[in-house]
């Protein structure tokens, strides 16, 4: 749908961008999503789950894309790593991009591999995880090089997602938002704003007011580059007292508040609910997305009302 300008701060984007509502589609819901297609605009799948060149998963993603617009969300490009993603990895991503022509293709501002001192050769080892980056010029340069490389290889813009992190580096030289804004300038990539990750980082930095800090974070980011928002829930590690980005809960009230605030300033932007662990029913997940729709609809009404009433 085409929504109105909710905020005067970003009217062009609000008027021109279609606002789509999607759900992260996971294994447990494949069958139901296909047999009872829901009224959603797109689904996002983890790209690496469909790397097999043939067999059931290759057929499954073909079926999914017959029913829904697709977003390919990658977790293993390791864009902030010092070396490039391997040729075989890129060939697979390119094949999936070519075949399914996804609405969005995204990965994270993270690294996942490195050569180690104890390694027997220069071949990197992997963690299969999203490891945080140091926010300085050297790391920005590595990230930018890889984002440019991937965009050139795929012939399209990719979205880069802000990360939840459980530590910071002494080597940080700038704010995360400055780092990401400069990445956009250097690569013309889009941003995937994960509001849950911003909140988790605020909590893990022992912020006295995580929502306030998260709002400040979104006020510092280049909103014109934001193409998609992720909403999710988190849990707390009781032993380490960390907030963990495990996507095992409903979207928190705090995250909804941040979403409302962000949409007021950002205007129309595609929104996706991520729920990866302790999954609820498909219907519950779809209902969670309806909450996002309701917030946007409410903000639109408020906007029209303001326009209609004499000042």
């Amino acid at each position: 749908m085409l929504g109105p300008a909710i905020s005067s701060s970003n009217p062009t984007k609000a008027l021109n961008d279609a606002q789509l509502f999607g759900i992260g589609l996971r294994h447990e819901h494949y069958q139901q999503a296909l047999t009872c297609p829901a009224d959603i605009d797109f689904v996002e799948v983890h790209t690496e789950n469909f790397f097999a060149p043939g067999g059931a998963s290759a057929e499954l993603i073909r079926e999914i894309s017959k029913h829904y617009e697709l977003s390919l969300h990658c977790t293993a490009m390791g864009l902030g790593s010092i070396d490039r993603p391997s040729d075989s990895y890129m060939e697979t991503i390119a094949r999936l991009n070519q075949e399914h022509k996804p609405l969005f293709l995204s990965d994270h501002a993270s690294f996942n591999r490195a050569a180690t001192k104890s390694g027997t050769n220069a071949k990197p080892i992997f963690t299969g995880d999203l490891l945080p980056l140091a926010f300085n010029r050297e790391w920005l340069s590595a990230l930018s090089d890889n984002v440019n490389y991937v965009q050139d290889k795929l012939g399209r813009q990719i979205l880069v997602e802000n990360l939840s992190s459980y530590f910071q580096y002494d080597e940080d030289e700038m704010m995360e938002t400055d780092f990401l804004n400069q990445l956009v300038e250097k690569t013309n990539c889009g941003l995937l704003l994960d509001l849950n990750n911003i909140l988790i980082n605020a909590h893990n930095k022992q912020s006295s007011n995580p929502l306030h800090d998260a709002i400040s974070w979104t006020e510092s980011i280049n909103l014109n580059a934001v193409q998609e928002i992720h909403l999710a829930g988190f849990s707390q590690d009781k032993v380490a007292s960390f907030y963990i980005d495990d996507h095992s809960q409903a979207v928190s009230d705090e995250c909804w508040a941040l979403y409302r605030n962000t949409i007021q300033r950002l205007g129309n932007v595609s929104t996706l609910i991520e729920w990866d662990n302790s999954l609820p029913s498909w219907e519950t997940l779809v209902a969670e997305l309806d909450k996002a729709r309701a917030i946007v609809s409410e903000l639109e009404s408020e906007y029209y009302l303001k326009q209609a009433l004499p000042s």
Binding site: G55, I125, T127, G128, Y169, A240
Partner: protein, 260 residues
């Protein structure tokens, strides 16, 4: 090494020191837990029968051993687990499961087969047998095709332990009978029918022929090898080429025949 290389390398080394949890900072333990959980999940997907046989805790321990012996080598978790059968075979804790290593080998082949690219048999390629001597005709096997030899009734053990097994006792009885045979040897070919990998037992000479062709011998050379071996061992069971080719074609093992 540049600063960034050094720092990234040291973060990874800290994460891979998951056996020394007392020395790891709490934030590193979050990533260590993720690494171990992902490795376990990856093995659970590829090795369901092994998991059923030894339980979750033992599989978690194997995942940790695997990571210690060979850290993750690729971005894709589906490429993790190649050492599992070897680790099981060399681990005293699994001595009471002498067949476990071969079960893991079998599951690895099933997993690979089900992920392979979809192929069709080039039917017209059978005319290569008319166009040339069989010494010049080779078999290109489908990527989903695999073979496995074991002294244990792996197929029955696998079927008996899968959660969806309809009649596990039937498979266990069958396995027992096979183990009672002198020098039992199971020879399987693993093939994919649509999306599901299956296996079927083949005779000794059929297995030898298929192995020889997989190893790059022409059809004629593979037949010669079998005849020589059979002659040496005093077995004079000839191989019916038509039957074995028909068996392979029927089970979607062959991509095409070609002349070299």
């Amino acid at each position: 090494m540049s600063d960034i290389q050094t720092l990234q390398g040291s973060v990874l080394e800290d994460i891979y020191r998951f056996g020394e949890q007392d020395t790891s900072a709490a934030h590193t333990q979050v990533y260590q837990n993720n690494l171990l959980a992902s490795a376990f999940r990856s093995l659970s997907i590829a090795y369901p029968c092994t998991q059923q046989l030894i339980g979750d805790e033992a599989l978690k321990a194997l995942a940790a051993m695997h990571l210690q012996q060979q850290p993750l080598q690729a971005a894709d978790w589906s490429e993790f687990g190649h050492l599992l059968a070897k680790i099981i075979a060399s681990n005293e804790a699994f001595e009471s499961y002498p067949y476990l290593s071969d079960v893991a080998r079998y599951e690895a082949l099933i997993f690979e087969s089900e992920r392979s690219k979809d192929e069709l048999f080039n039917q017209s390629s059978v005319f290569k047998l008319q166009e040339s001597e069989i010494d010049n005709v080779y078999i290109r096997f489908q990527e989903s095709f695999r073979i496995l030899e074991s002294p244990y009734p792996i197929e029955d053990i696998y079927r008996a332990n899968l959660s969806e097994a309809a009649e596990p006792d039937q498979y266990l009885q069958s396995a027992k009978k096979k183990l009672e045979q002198d020098e039992y040897q199971e020879r399987l070919m693993i093939y994919r029918c649509r999306y599901k990998a299956h296996s079927i037992a083949v005779a000794k000479n059929e297995f030898a022929f298929i192995s020889a062709c997989i190893n790059g011998l022409s059809i004629g050379a593979a037949l010669d090898t079998i005849e020589i071996k059979a002659h040496r061992s005093g077995e004079n069971k000839g191989l019916d080429l038509g039957s074995v080719l028909s068996l392979l074609i029927q089970h979607q093992a062959i991509s095409e025949l070609y002349i070299q």
